[in-house]
């Protein structure tokens, strides 16, 4: 899956650490998501979409 996590985070001027704290995951997890090394579970994907006030498909899309 592709994602716009880095883009959305940059728009809100957040660091990886701040985003990790907001989602209660580690900074390594945010890094793995942004670099495409890890695809999140549905609950985490929903939490990300909720945090950025958008739909899941606005953040994630098939490759």
């Amino acid at each position: 899956m592709k994602n716009k996590l880095a883009e959305l985070r940059a728009q809100r001027d957040m660091t990886q650490g701040e985003l990790a704290d907001a989602l209660n995951v580690s900074r390594q997890t945010i890094n793995a998501l942004e670099t495409g090394r890890y695809d999140p579970s549905l609950p985490l994907a929903f939490a990300i979409a909720r945090l950025f006030k958008c739909r899941i498909e606005d953040v994630f899309s098939p490759k």
């Binding site: 995951v25 580690s26 390594q28």
Partner: protein, 134 residues
């Protein structure tokens, strides 16, 4: 507070504290064991004194379980993958070693199994950590 409710960023520190405490309990139990066995008196108490260090070992399992509940989904995936890879490497090494003994290598005590498994685990986790960082 339940382990899963702790913020993920505090998980490594809490794990270190819990693991240190349980390790200290284990070392304490091993050190005090000979004295307890010598002074226990009755047969059931001698038995309890002899098996006492086994209790903190089971607590270590509880500590590991609590840490598993605290870490996030990506860390869980990495942990399980690391355990699987380590187990595979250790199994291959064990089978190879059996043939190496036959070829003339010295036979080691079974007590080396745990340090060897631990070393493989650390090595695998270290390599994975470096690869993931890159």
């Amino acid at each position: 507070m339940a382990a899963a409710e702790v913020p993920v960023k505090h998980a490594p520190r809490i794990y270190l504290i819990e693991f240190t405490l349980v390790t200290a309990l284990y070392v304490g139990a091993v050190l005090v064991r000979p004295w307890l066995v010598a002074h226990a008196g009755s047969e059931p108490l001698v038995f309890v004194a002899k098996v006492l260090p086994g209790v903190p070992v089971w607590l270590m399992l509880l500590v590991a379980r609590r840490q598993y509940a605290r870490i996030d989904e990506y860390a869980r995936k990495r942990l399980l993958e690391t355990i699987t890879i380590s187990f595979g490497i250790a199994s291959c090494a064990m089978v190879t070693y059996i043939f190496l003994i036959d070829a003339g290598l010295p036979k080691l005590s079974i007590a080396w199994a745990w340090p060897a498994l631990g070393a493989v685990w650390l090595l695998t986790a270290g390599i994975r950590g470096i690869v993931d960082r890159g």
